[in-house]
């Protein structure tokens, strides 16, 4: 408190912009953010260079030209293997709380059995990263959203924990954190009172890496293929174009980004 005059003085001389006004800063920042994103970039050299915006222009961020997706070859997925699940768990730090009914479940292995033939299949099910995500439709705060590149996420800064999205999701892909947490992974924030789910390892994808489940599966079964399904020349698109693949509950019209082959 005692340093107020000094701080104000130095800030005013080094950066004569509205950004340094100690009283109106929050409101001005808010009003500024209501403007178009391009306006923010125009202002960036003068105003937001002080913030992260200046160098953020160098990082391209999510591109609307891409749509990340997965292709899971069920014939290569063995029933006893859960490497994708354990990889996800250790990557993001979620684990059992001792209450199986409410445990977090970002990805799970599902066993399917045809009652007539008795044939069984085992496949991982996670957030299907729908093009028309019902979770985002029902979210009252805008916390559930789809990124430009098709990854569906929960913005926990806005999540109020109402769990509408959990009800709306046809794939039961989301979980609610019931208990206070400590020592989360720095790249995977998660906390009590918010909803969470598969992020398609967005922190890895943004660095040009593949999701943890895909990396783990490549070392064992090689059943999961990750790529840009909007690019016709990507490996995943070529496989989808060549072989019959399905979306789970494709009849719902939500257009999942995760596809299954040999299911």
């Amino acid at each position: 408190m005692t340093d107020r005059p000094t701080t104000c003085g130095s800030a005013c001389t080094c950066a004569p912009t509205s950004n340094v006004d100690p009283i109106d800063e929050g409101r001005r920042g808010f009003l500024g953010s209501l403007g178009a994103a391009s306006a923010m970039t125009v202002l960036a050299p003068g105003v937001t260079l002080l913030a992260f915006g200046g160098e953020a222009t160098a990082a391209p961020g999510a591109s609307a030209a891409k749509r990340w997706g997965l292709l899971i070859d069920v014939s290569k997925c063995t029933e006893g293997c859960s490497d994708c699940v354990s990889a996800c768990s250790s990557e993001h730090g979620w684990k059992t709380t001792g209450h199986p009914a409410t445990d977090p479940q970002w990805i799970r292995k599902v066993k399917l059995r045809d009652p007539k033939s008795g044939a069984t299949r085992s496949a991982p099910v996670m957030c299907q990263h729908c093009a028309e995500p019902p979770c985002a439709d029902v979210c009252p705060t805008g916390a559930s959203f789809k990124r430009a590149d098709g990854i569906v996420l929960v913005d926990r800064h806005r999540c109020i924990g109402c769990r509408y999205c959990m009800m709306a999701c046809p794939y039961k892909a989301r979980s609610f954190v019931h208990e206070a947490l400590e020592d989360q992974k720095p790249h995977a924030p998660r906390g009590m009172g918010t909803v969470e789910g598969c992020t398609l390892c967005v922190h890895r994808v943004d660095k040009g890496e593949v999701p943890a489940c895909v990396q783990a599966c490549a070392q064992t079964g090689g059943a999961i293929l990750f790529g840009d399904i909007a690019d016709p020349n990507s490996e995943i698109s070529k496989v989808i174009a060549t072989y019959a693949t399905i979306q789970i509950r494709g009849d719902l019209g939500v257009d999942p980004g995760v596809r299954y082959r040999n299911l």
Binding site: S10, V20, A59, G61, A62, D73, S90, Q184, R190, G222
Partner: protein
């Protein structure tokens, strides 16, 4: 008691208030040295300390929306970078969490009585290095990509 003029009374009251006020200020300064702020371990901060004290919350709020919603990640400018540079040793080779009053953020926030919500979801200390061993068998990313390419080739065949 002798009758005094209203003016004299006013002067007397003001004098008493001034003395009490001065004593209060001096007492506050002598007894309260302000928050003890732990030293950071890294190099230069993203902004001078005076500016960070005043605007760190705006910087974080601006950055979080860009990162979560737009996918723009700038290495070394997120909350995780703040936390790792401002980690306070717990004397046992690790760093204290926000549950400790010695935590960098808490030092000021406790003093200013401002509630700190960030660490309900975010890690309040750098990831302990011994935890890395229980992670998945972490091959180099390029190895995974190579394996994926092999897989894709095999499918195409």
């Amino acid at each position: 008691m002798a009758r005094r003029s209203p003016f004299l009374r006013l002067v007397l009251v003001l004098a008493i208030l001034a003395i009490a006020g001065l004593a209060g200020i001096v007492g506050a300064h002598a007894g309260d040295a302000g928050p003890v702020i732990p030293k950071a371990t890294g190099g230069t901060c993203v902004a001078p300390p005076e500016e960070m004290r005043r605007t760190h919350m705006s910087l974080l709020r601006h950055g979080r929306d860009l990162t979560v919603r737009e996918g723009e990640r700038v290495d070394g400018k997120g909350l995780a970078a703040c936390v790792s540079c401002h980690a306070v040793s717990d004397g046992k080779g690790g760093a204290v969490t926000v549950s400790s009053p010695q935590h960098f953020c808490r030092a000021c926030h406790d003093y200013a009585a401002v509630k700190l919500d960030c660490f309900e979801c975010h890690a309040s200390r750098p990831e302990p290095s011994n935890k890395a061993s229980d992670a998945m068998p972490d091959g180099h990313p390029t190895a995974a990509v190579a394996a994926l390419a092999d897989y894709a080739r095999e499918i195409a065949r």
